[in-house]
Symmetry: C2
Subunit: 159 residues, 2 copies
């Protein structure tokens, strides 16, 4: 069985996640402020990474853009968020994998939505095996990998 949309199905654990995040912030001498809670919550409830503009709109004026960017920067510096860049170069933000679990991304070329996918453990093990094989053969020591799958989501396929 394949799990996807991990975070949305884990909201019952959001208080535990919140506690972990508070601790991590304290570790780097930062506070768990209102804006930071709002951003973490929005990302926790999202099925995939979000860009700053989306967050800004979702938080409807609660957090001005510059503060939002600073919030994202602090959370990333604390290792709570991860940043990546979509095909247009705009930064996408999501909770780090130590909070969500390791996962990959399905990118719909139709509507642009990005969705998390967690392969079943056996599949992920195979992928890791190939990644190590490829890296080793090229003289690299692999530390991480990112698999983006492009395609059309169910809704866009039926259009």
């Amino acid at each position: 069985m394949l799990l996807y949309g991990v975070m949305t199905s884990c909201t019952r654990r959001s208080d535990e996640t919140t506690r972990l995040i508070g601790t991590r912030l304290a570790d780097v001498g930062a506070r768990f402020t209102r804006a930071r809670r709002l951003v973490v919550r929005a990302l926790t409830e999202s099925p995939g990474p979000m860009i700053a503009a989306d967050l800004h709109e979702t938080l409807r004026g609660e957090v001005p853009l510059s503060s939002l960017y600073r919030t994202l920067s602090v959370l990333e510096g604390a290792g709570i968020l991860a940043r990546e860049h979509g095909s247009n170069g705009v930064a996408r933000h999501e909770l780090a994998e130590w909070l969500t679990g390791h996962h990959h991304h399905l990118v719909c070329t139709g509507c642009g939505v990005v969705q998390d996918v967690t392969p079943e453990p056996a599949v992920e093990r195979e992928i890791v095996g190939f990644v190590d094989h490829i890296a080793t053969a090229a003289g690299y020591r692999a530390t991480d990998h990112r698999l983006d799958i492009e395609g059309t989501c169910a809704a866009c396929t039926s259009k």
Copy 2:
């Protein structure tokens, strides 16, 4: 056996590649100008994708920045180049896969160099299988995939 650095080992075919590119440009009503030849050559000789600033420097004043960007845009519009975005959001450019063959990227977290890797066919087939499996299970129809392997290259590992 693993092949990597595909393009550098294929320079003997660069005249054929050049012809294909000229044809493709003609198809979209564009000319194969000096600047476009220079950019294509630089990318053909590179072991991996390049950012605009690198190209600008490599072409040492031969092509002003704005023209370089327009050149990249035209070549991408014609399907000759592909664009992706590194961890800092800066666009990286490379020849499209119909010219280079399908490949993935090894990203060195030490020196930032990005190198092409072409897995052996059996490995690539397995990867495609997993990609389809994962996409299908989530209701997507996979059309493409991108695998970025992060790690440390031989030089950085020994440092």
